[in-house]
Symmetry: C2
Subunit: 304 residues, 2 copies
Amino acid sequence: MIVVLSGGVGAARLLRAFEGVMNRDEITAIVNVGDDLTMHGLTICPDLDTITYTLAGLNNEELGWGLTGETWRVMDELDALGGEAWFRLGDRDLATHLYRTERFARGATKSDVAAELAHRHGVRERLLPVTNDPLATIFVTDQGDLSFQEYFVRHRHGIPVHSVRFAGAEQCSPAPGVLEALREADRIVIAPSNPLISIEPLLSVPGVREELRRRRRDVIAVSPIIAGAALKGPADRLLRELGHDVSCVGVARYYREVCATIVIDELDVDRRAEIEELGLSVRTTTTIMANREHARALATEVLA
Amino acid sequence: MIVVLSGGVGAARLLRAFEGVMNRDEITAIVNVGDDLTMHGLTICPDLDTITYTLAGLNNEELGWGLTGETWRVMDELDALGGEAWFRLGDRDLATHLYRTERFARGATKSDVAAELAHRHGVRERLLPVTNDPLATIFVTDQGDLSFQEYFVRHRHGIPVHSVRFAGAEQCSPAPGVLEALREADRIVIAPSNPLISIEPLLSVPGVREELRRRRRDVIAVSPIIAGAALKGPADRLLRELGHDVSCVGVARYYREVCATIVIDELDVDRRAEIEELGLSVRTTTTIMANREHARALATEVLA
């Protein structure tokens, strides 16, 4: 059994890569909820949905997010009404959020809904939100405190960030199964997600960082920074703004307390010695998952 | 200035009929909210929306409810997910509910949203929800207490009703403008809506019934019962189940404290004397609004 600490797109692609090299039933993803939001009264869980859609083979490859075969009737109409339409919710995607919100109104938890939606979509991996309690990633900027989606979507991660915090982290509890999965996993993988805003919220849930420290020898991270840049999203910019090295070395330093091994890209092979000096083992392979073969190579290396 | 006490479809059609014979700016509809509901986290106001859509010329004539040119992408997907899809919300219609719910989250009232949506749709009549406070029509049945939409849509108004109550009525306040409109109106019209479940919730809001009693001489009702049957919906069945005459006489008796004049259909001309004995004046015309000419005739008679 492996556990994958997961953000959104990068984690979803890694999880899909594992399908080729191991039994899907033996994969548990512990998923970030810090970028969840309530909009138009609907509860939206972008990372859980990205992973579900991707593992169901329903992800929209052209857009890079959302569902395949998507249409935009509701959003177009909402836009015409002068409503808040900056966070684009497709018609098919909206059904997910209506489903989730109705289930919440009837007492279901985020864990329940994640399992139900995974089941409906034929996803065999176990998807666990890290917590069922409120946890919100907040960006402190010149424009005030912004929620994840305000920063990420509304401002297209284009404004300087002074700091990041996780509102509710100290009060929240790990969702059922989270700590048990971390204790029992043969291997714990930190997906190539944004360390500061996708993985850090997971670590901020009481008990998770401690369990990872205890399991450090079995924890392996995949660097989301390749040759000094992020493949996708603002990880590079944020690392710089928040005082970290924008490199796989910076990532290794960030994770070194909770992780004994890091997988870096072949392009970064010259940084190997620096990372080893930090006390981590290093594995080198292609990490871009540009095609199925590369994805399989990465998955194999992570499990080796 | 006239005020129309309004439920859904019947009221919407009468309001549209008035457009042909008077200035739209001089019409105020006070609208039932007892069948409003929260579903999938969205606040839905069926009567306000029916009236808005109809006065905007956007009502779906084939369905008899909802918007023209409607599509069902979200509901079809929700159905496939195993979600609650019995209350059909079209894609265009959903935009209304997303808009309303988001505005509520930002502190807007039902009145605000009704005015905004009317403005967006070019509706010049003033639409006032009777209250901005919670008010819910509840049907007491063998299957327990049912909300309006559970009774009306889910059970297709096909189960016996022991009684009806209006939860929240005693605590709620009239929305801004409601009592003023009733005081200042040249004429107050009770639309041919269901007396027991569309008009009664309006009367149950503190101050409304009292104001109507005071204005009784200027209040005119259009009977929704024609030749012993309702044109649409369960008004006839409910009148019978709750112990009223299923006739325009039963309607007149129901309204006699708040209304001095009733418009009955030509088909009911033989009931005229019975109504006059109750102390009401009677006007007779075609009330079915089967075409524009008939609708205009009814509107003219009501305003005469």
